[in-house]
């Protein structure tokens, strides 16, 4: 700083002049920012992963905390958007990895594997009760991911939360839908234990909406009720003999409750969605030989790519472009009358409609047939003013609010079958909407994410090609004989750290210090382990913006007359 020490000295000649031009003042007196016509701005942006994640988990942020050795801070950041990383770290289709900018260099960061490690680390640490009680009570119907998420955030906000679950075991689809080899029941149990430690109450074996527990009684009991009962109604195929088929969801539920006998040796599974994959793979593990029957081709299957791939690896037989037109029981067999299909015009789902090929009928014989052709929510328990003409709940997508005051809903109940992470997003936004409702406020919806960093904004010169770390898996030959053992293992701590270091931290400053290092005018102040641009001396050369590997610094046009100030 110029402290006014400088003074002008007049020299008579070389004899009294020093050897070199030396001043005891500094160049700080000359504020050089007046030259600037471009202004670098520290502007945090959104990694593509954040926007791609339905729960908008700030992934670069927690990875940065992890890399800085702050595990607890990393967990805290995850939990602001997703209370169950140990679960999504196993079963999420990792939308986050799809758009990862690192794919342009080598392969996406294994975000899900990192999340799984963090989630397992957090399992025993969670469960602190809220600081203060608000006295408001919320009933939550359904203990699947949407219900449990809403319970978690509402409880954190200080509300009394009671979860009503039809089954004797809480967890909903996490426990009764997803097979144990994908998500060990112990993980779900531990998550529920942590919720109990928070003070969340669970009422098990309570089916809301039946005679003993009517919806309006529950509404009177609580200040608000959040329904997250999922989508459990099996679609009807409307073919003769359909009553011979076993429901896919019921079958998975029974296995979750301990059934280990397959319904027969040769079992047909009708459908091409995730439930069909889970049913077929479970059957295989129980010793049966499943055959998947699907009326379109592999390309049109609604199952997640990863599930389809694993079913393929398991060696499960697929029959495409075929569908049963009737079924009958002959001795101990179920005989399916099949017809071959061909693809026709696109239907409203955007997929080509399967059309029967005339004269292509044939028969298939099975010991049992399981139907998994899609599910839809049962809305019969709700008052009519909450339903539209098609019988679906009328729900505000931003808040979960229904036309009935105090009645909120979310998850598969609203969307139809979707993923755990989408249910988590529903639970979270509904929880905050319910909290706002208690204060007489309404929320407009989620805050908009900042601009996404495209891969072209990344300075790839700073990153070396480093392949991702692969999770260990039980070999296919062994995994097909075990239902209970989890088929995919986790990464070690060292691997997690190495994987975290592959993250570009797109749009999020991770204090790499490049701007500080490269600024030719020393106009980056480094305070609290973060950069701050000193606009008194920044000449707007833009080097910091170019050398920022992760596009945190953006150049904007300088507004005349504003140069020199510290405002942005």
């Amino acid at each position: 700083m110029n402290t006014g020490k400088s003074k002008v000295i007049r020299y008579k000649g070389a004899h009294d002049l020093p050897d070199l031009a030396f001043s005891t003042g500094t160049t700080l007196a000359g504020k050089t920012s007046g030259w600037r016509n471009l202004r670098p701005v520290l502007m945090e942006k959104s990694g593509p992963c954040i926007g791609a994640c339905p729960a908008n988990v700030p992934i670069p942020h927690y990875i940065t905390a992890l890399r800085q050795g702050n595990m607890d801070e990393a967990v805290r950041i995850i939990l602001t958007r997703n209370p169950f990383p140990s679960i999504t770290g196993r079963v999420c289709p990792h939308y986050c990895e799809v758009g990862c900018n690192r794919k342009r260099l080598d392969e996406a960061v294994s975000i899900r594997a990192i999340e799984r490690f963090m989630g397992d680390y957090a399992l025993e640490k969670k469960g602190a009760p809220p600081g203060k009680e608000t006295g408001k009570t919320v009933g939550i119907v359904g203990s699947g991911p949407a219900g449990l998420t809403a319970a978690y955030y509402l409880r954190k906000l200080g509300h009394t939360v009671v979860v009503y679950e039809r089954s004797q075991i809480p967890g909903g689809v996490l426990r009764e839908g997803i097979p144990a080899y994908r998500l060990p029941p112990m993980i779900v149990d531990k998550e529920i234990e942590s919720l109990k430690r928070m003070g969340i109450l669970f009422q098990l074996g309570v089916e809301v909406g039946n005679g003993r527990h009517p919806v309006d009684a529950l509404m009177k009991q609580h200040n608000a009720v959040f329904f997250a009962i999922g989508a459990h109604q099996e679609q009807e195929m409307k073919i003769p003999g359909e009553d011979l088929f076993i429901s896919g969801l019921r079958f998975l539920e029974e296995v979750a409750h301990g059934r280990r006998e397959p319904p027969g040796e040769r079992v047909a599974v009708i459908g091409g969605g995730n439930v069909a994959m889970d049913v077929a793979r479970t059957l295989l593990r129980l010793g049966a030989t499943p055959t998947i029957l699907y009326r379109r081709t592999e390309k049109e299957m609604p199952a997640l790519q990863e599930e389809l791939k694993r079913a393929r690896e398991d060696g499960i037989e697929f029959l495409f472009l075929t569908t049963p037109v009737s079924a009958e029981k002959v001795y101990n067999w179920i005989v399916l009358k099949m017809v071959k299909m061909q693809l026709g015009e696109k239907d409203k789902s955007g997929r080509p409609r399967p059309v029967p090929v005339p004269g292509s009928e044939y028969e298939l014989h099975f010991d049992a047939v399981i139907k998994a052709v899609g599910e839809y929510p049962d809305t019969s328990i709700f008052p009519s003013e909450a339903l539209n003409e098609k019988g679906w709940l009328i729900v505000n997508k931003n808040t979960g609010a229904t036309p009935v005051r105090g009645l909120f809903a979310g998850g598969d109940l609203v969307d139809g079958p979707s993923t755990v992470v989408e249910a988590i997003a529903w639970g979270r936004k509904s929880a905050f909407a319910i909290d706002a409702f208690f204060r007489g406020e309404t929320v407009a919806g989620e805050e908009k994410l900042p601009k996404t960093v495209p891969y072209k904004a990344i300075n790839f010169d700073y990153f070396l090609q480093t392949p991702g770390h692969k999770q260990l898996e039980i070999p296919v030959a062994k995994r097909i004989h075990t239902y209970l053992q989890e088929e995919v293992g986790g990464l070690t701590f060292q691997e997690v750290l190495a994987e975290a270091s592959r993250c570009f931290s797109c749009g999020h400053c991770n204090a790499c210090g490049n701007c500080w290092l490269f600024c030719p005018d020393a106009a980056i102040d480094w305070t609290d382990n973060a950069p701050l641009i000193n606009y008194d001396f920044c000449k707007g050369c833009g080097i910091c913006a170019v050398e920022c590997p992760r596009s945190v610094i953006t150049l904007v046009e300088e507004v005349p007359g504003r140069a020199g100030g510290k405002d942005v």
Binding site: T3, A14, D19, L20, A21, F22, T24, T27
Partner: protein, 392 residues
């Protein structure tokens, strides 16, 4: 340390530079590798990495930055050293002016290499001589021992006159050729070269600016003072050369005289070429009893006018060997010698031979032919350039 110093080793000229820097206890080294200088940097970086030399080695991406880093280090009061060659020296050019204008006693070793294009990595003095007006002292070395000595010596002079020094050695002829070199015991070098005690330093904790704006009312005087410093160096160099001899055993002057007492014909040489000239002259004296001698120029800047005049006054003829060329003019040393002799009344004729450019070999036979050519030349037959060995 004790195993490294205080012994005689057979080393290359490049490693002689490195040992010179080691013995000078340099504190900051910043250099960028370039053929044929690379071994200097390699050896020094090993000294630093091994903890033999407690210095900071600053890696940079160019010679311009290497000199800039040395300037910063020297301004902060450190003894700073760098080495380069040819294109690298040319890239440093801007910063060479800056170092001298800032009066920073940086020492640079330049391995003489021809300027491109066409690419050529062999010896040629045009790279260093074309830095004539940057305010650097320049000393040309004949042997690997002189290379090592000149590093130490340059720091001693530079730190007294506050100007940077460039010591120059021939590509390959010295840089990659092994010769026995005495590596003095450290305490004897310390006796000759005390630690650097800077007059002005920049410190992060104190306010200060070097080389800020100087208007026409003072700039002129700053230039005048640089010239004064050069003149001070001329006076200081022989004294320090004596002292070097007393402490370390080898005496150095501004120039070196070889068989000059009665010489009618004087060959003026510089760098490693001098040894070839000495060899030829010695044989000529023995075999043909001709009165020839060699004047080896050590310092190019400051130019030793008085010494040169004193030695060349009254000789019959002077032949200057230039392994360099100022295009449109001639050999650089010859024009300097001519200008030095101009104030003399009875000045000898000066014949300027340009030879050996781009590392073309110069043999004793070439030297004998030059002497013969000079002896048979009419006194006034002094073209600006007498080409020796060019295939016309």
């Amino acid at each position: 340390m004790s195993k490294i110093t205080g012994t005689t080793k057979v080393i290359t000229g490049n490693h002689a530079v490195s040992y010179g820097a080691l013995l000078s206890r340099v504190q900051v080294i910043s250099a960028y590798p370039i053929t044929p200088q690379t071994q200097i940097v390699e050896e020094l970086s090993e000294f630093v990495a091994d903890g033999v030399l407690p210095a900071r080695f600053i890696n940079v991406e160019s010679e311009h930055s290497a000199m800039s880093a040395c300037i910063g280090a020297s301004a902060a009061g450190a003894r700073a050293f760098t080495a380069t060659s040819s294109q690298g020296l040319a890239l440093m050019h801007e910063m060479l002016h800056w170092a001298a204008g800032s009066r920073l006693p940086i020492v640079l070793a330049n391995v003489n290499r021809a300027m491109a294009p066409p690419w050529n990595i062999w010896t040629d003095q045009t790279d260093s001589l074309s830095q004539r007006d940057t305010g650097w002292l320049q000393v040309y070395c004949e042997s690997n021992q002189e290379v090592l000595d000149s590093v130490i010596f340059s720091f001693k002079i530079s730190e007294q006159v506050l100007l940077p020094s460039m010591l120059v050695l021939d590509a390959f002829v010295l840089s990659h050729t092994y010769e026995p070199v005495e590596i003095y015991p450290q305490q004897r070098v310390d006796e000759f070269l005390p630690p650097y005690d800077p007059k002005f330093t920049l410190r992060p904790s104190e306010e200060g600016t070097m080389g800020g704006l100087s208007a026409p009312d003072t700039y002129f005087e700053f230039r005048y003072k640089i010239q004064q410093a050069m003149e001070k160096a001329i006076a200081l160099l022989p004294k320090e050369g004596e002292l070097f001899g007393e402490i370390l055993g080898r005496r150095y002057g501004l120039v070196e005289e070889f068989l000059l007492e009665d010489a009618d014909t004087v060959l003026v040489t510089s760098g490693a070429l001098t040894s070839t000239a000495k060899f030829a002259v010695h044989r000529l004296r023995q075999e043909k009893k001709k009165k020839v001698g060699v004047l080896k120029m050590r310092y190019f800047r400051p130019f030793p006018f008085e010494t040169v005049r004193k030695i060349l006054k009254g000789r019959k003829r002077v032949a200057v060997l230039d392994r360099n060329l100022s295009f449109g003019h001639g050999g650089i040393w010859s024009s300097e010698i001519k200008s030095a002799l101009y104030p003399l009344k009875d000045r000898p004729p000066v014949y300027g031979y340009v030879l050996g450019l781009g590392g073309r070999d110069v043999t004793p036979k070439d030297i004998l032919e030059i002497i013969s050519d000079a002896e048979h030349r009419d006194e006034l037959d002094m073209p600006e350039i007498i080409w020796k060995g060019v295939k016309k």
